[in-house]
Amino acid sequence: MNLELADFAVREGLNLGAGYVEARMESETGKGFLLKNGIPEVAGINFEEGLSVRFLKGKAMGFISTNELSKDAVSRLLRQGISRLHAANGINADVSFSVEKASTADYTVKQKTDIMDVSDGEKFNHLIQLYRNIKKAEPSLLTAHFSFSNRIREKLFVSSEGARIHAELPELSFFYLISVGRGSNTMQHMWQYGGSGGFELFHGWELEKKLASRVKALAKVLEEGKPLKPGSYDVVCGPEVTGLMSHESVGHPYEADRILGREAAQAGESFITPEMRGTRIGSEHVTVIDDPTMPGSYGFYLYDEEGVKAGPRTLIDRGIIGEFLHNRESAAQLGTRSNAAARASDYGKEPIIRMANTYVKPGSFSDDELFESIKQGVYVKSFMEWNIDDKRFNQKYVGAESYLIENGKITSPVRNPVLELTTPALWKSVDAVGKKPEFHAATCGKGEPMQGIPVFHGGPNIRLRNIRMK
């Protein structure tokens, strides 16, 4: 990677009159494998390298990016960028950044088995074997779309304040979309696995066991499941559902750029206001954390894309609204410090406020304890359809693998039970939190242009009392 060009970009930005300049240089080697119903469609190999520069001229912000890695190209783009700011005199916003320590660091995510040491043929064949074994064990699998990808990103951040962060981040992910059939009845499900590390993660996911179990469970729902009689139920949400809820209705509305309206145009705003900090949003059982530094996680990083050192953020503390997710811009606006939430999907996108690994903190309840007091309830173990409004207030989750709970026991499957409720109603109804968390990978979308970034969401089984379901 041409590290010197990043330093040049910062110097050149300052020479052109910018008061603050930061450069991000990234190089990526990535591979992807696509399998459709057992047929190896294509292998994709991606080599990419590029640079972006973000700068403040006066109080106006500019950003340029290119994969034409020459001093001439960078200089030309910077001049054009500054000319654009001048042309917009009078309609440029006043942007300022919170004061943060200019860190210097170099870190690497260790791999037990280097992902580039495993041949492409072997990776492809793992997918084929996975499909064949599941299909053999569970003939109700009708269609299966698998994709596996891995990449190693080398990243450098330098700023005119003296920050210099170098990182090497290997990452893997697996995605499936399956159709399961029993007679003329069918269901579909999709899910993602991911993490930061080496190829050992792939084996750790136990895909064959988990996918076969999922196909079997969905087939049972098709065979025996009945629609839920609408009414009031106690609900236990499995870790997959809990995690998604924490992401959608806690992580997103606590992003300070939404709260301040910076993403109003597309990703939306938030029902949370700055004045709501310290007020109750959930029961005392609910604590929600976002932690970029979780080892092996899909949303892992130690320094964000503004060079700020990362750590865990407590979004809800025992039901009380805690901290928001901040970058330097939002922190300056709200008179606080950044908590290192600035992320970008690649060098060509501006860093904006994002989650990393968001989860409901485990409680003290065993699974037996969670279920035993429920007379009439529903266990929503997994979901397919979901959505939430753009202020993150009204949400819907439709169960995939779901069961009735009767007199403390999980009994028969139910088909597509629907939870449709508001965020405060959801988190205030939680009266017990399990002690066994799971963490699941997802790709979170935000920004315009759209940026998809890797995240974890997770948590344990949680129990919600007296929820109207249909």
């Binding site: 047929i39 292998a43 080599f47 290119t66 783009l77 000319s83 084929i128 309206g261 109003a264």
Partner: protein, 439 residues
């Protein structure tokens, strides 16, 4: 200088059986504005080279970062060296065989956009002025110029230049009263940020003081923006790849009535000023116009060369090397003028935008989506009052069969959730189910 043709020559020289190479150079600008001020002004220059090679029925796509001939050769040689360990794709049916003669597509390149300078800033100033009746406007204005080359081992060597302009703004009269306007064009003549801004502001002002809507069934007038969001999924379903992966609700319906007779949908890769219009597809096959649904009857799935071979049909020139994709979805315009479309509706809702469309079952079309920005009750054939807090929870094939009226004013839409460009007028769909949070 490396060209698509030279990449093909290198790959052939290294032993690839079939090769398609693309070389794309793009210059773009983006102005992001929030509360009537530009918060970030962006410029980007990218050059991308992509080589897809087939060797003994194994398919590999390589994106190159270094575009010098020697370095490209080293990388491709390294890739091909390992290819024999890949499993065989028995279904691969080859790439398009040229030579082809290409016809120009009208109005996809505007020299005025290519030489845009800081004109975007001036257009944005006009847009902000047009939205001065509301408290705040937020959105983006982008411009881009692209030169795309395609070449293949089967006598394909072509190039096209194109430009594009996009403006998207949400206007807020209050926190809970907003509207969304879009202008998308390849040419300056079809680009009007000020008009989009005025439209968004008009919706926002109408949407002041909304009340909670009631769940139930309503006749719905969709503006082009939300209707496009749903039609993108119809476009997805029209790709034969979606059929193969079990995600198309149109699968097995060729020749059958899948929508009301009012509804016709075409993929028009040659639409003048179409945001997705192109001279050729990703294999270099000359682009064409393909009817998908005609008077409600499913006519054609979209194919590339390989999918056409395995389904015993002809390519519709919709490569995507792996998955065929639409270029521009175009809905046949109806006869209803703006206000006429509301006439006679006794219990209806006017939906001006939706977001977060998600499916419970792609092949059945069960889904939900959330109206956002202005949403209004329709009573006695007229828009009566703003409402909020509802979700459309329905089935897309059923909704297509309930299309009752189409307006006579088409609008070209692309957007955050409308990843396939869609040109459509407003549309009336009967008997749509709405749900709401139960607590």
């Amino acid at each position: 200088m490396l060209s698509a043709k030279s990449l093909v020559r290198i790959a052939e020289g290294l032993g690839a059986d079939e090769v398609v190479a693309q070389l794309v150079t793009e210059n773009s600008e983006l102005l992001k504005f929030v509360d009537n001020k530009i918060v970030n002004s962006q410029g980007q220059r990218l050059k991308q080279a992509n080589v897809v090679m087939a060797k003994d029925k194994r398919l590999i796509a390589v994106n190159l970062k270094e575009l010098e001939e020697d370095k490209a050769k080293d990388v491709l040689a390294g890739v091909l060296k390992n290819v024999s360990a890949y499993p065989v794709n028995e279904e691969f049916g080859g790439f398009a065989r040229g030579p082809f003669s290409y016809r120009e597509v009208k109005d996809i390149y505007d020299p005025g956009v290519a030489d845009f300078g800081n004109s975007g800033v001036e257009l944005l100033r006009e847009a902000l002025k047009a939205g001065r009746n509301v408290k705040r406007l937020s959105g983006v204005l982008t411009s881009a110029t692209e030169i795309a080359e395609v070449a293949s081992s089967h006598d394909v060597d072509a190039e096209q230049k194109s430009t594009s302009l996009y403006f998207s703004a949400r206007a807020f009269a209050e926190k809970n009263a907003s509207g969304h306007g879009i202008s998308a064009s390849r040419m300056l003549y079809g680009f009007s940020p000020a008009k989009a801004s005025e439209y968004a502001s008009g919706i926002a002002l109408k949407a002041l003081n909304p009340v909670q809507g009631e769940a139930g069934r309503y006749d719905v007038v969709f503006e082009p923006l939300p209707w496009s969001n749903l039609l993108s999924h119809v476009g997805d379903s029209s790709s034969i790849y979606s059929v193969e992966t079990g995600t198309s609700f149109l699968a097995g319906k060729e020749g059958q009535q899948v929508a009301s007779r009012e509804f016709s949908l075409t993929d028009d890769a040659r639409a003048p000023n179409g945001i997705g219009s192109a001279v050729f597809d990703e294999e270099g096959r000359p682009s064409q116009t393909t009817p998908i649904i005609e008077k409600g009857v499913m006519k054609n799935f979209l194919h590339n060369t390989s999918t056409a071979a395995r389904h015993n049909t002809k390519s519709t020139a919709n490569a995507g090397i792996i998955s065929p994709e639409p270029f521009n979805l175009v809905v046949k315009t109806g006869t209803y003028k703006n206000q006429e479309i509301f006439q006679g509706i006794t219990r209806g809702i006017w939906v001006t935008n939706v977001w977060y469309t998600r499916f419970q079952h792609y092949a059945k079309g069960d889904f939900s989506t959330i109206p956002r920005d202005g949403m209004f009750l329709i009573e006695d054939g007229k828009v009566s009052r703003p409402i909020h807090g509802l979700r459309i929870s329905d089935n897309l094939p059923r909704m297509l069969k309930n299309v009752a009226r189409l307006g006579n004013q088409p609008v070209q839409i692309r957007g955050w959730e409308v990843w396939l460009p869609v040109t459509t007028p407003p549309c009336l769909v009967k008997d749509v189910n709405f749900s709401k949070s139960e607590q």
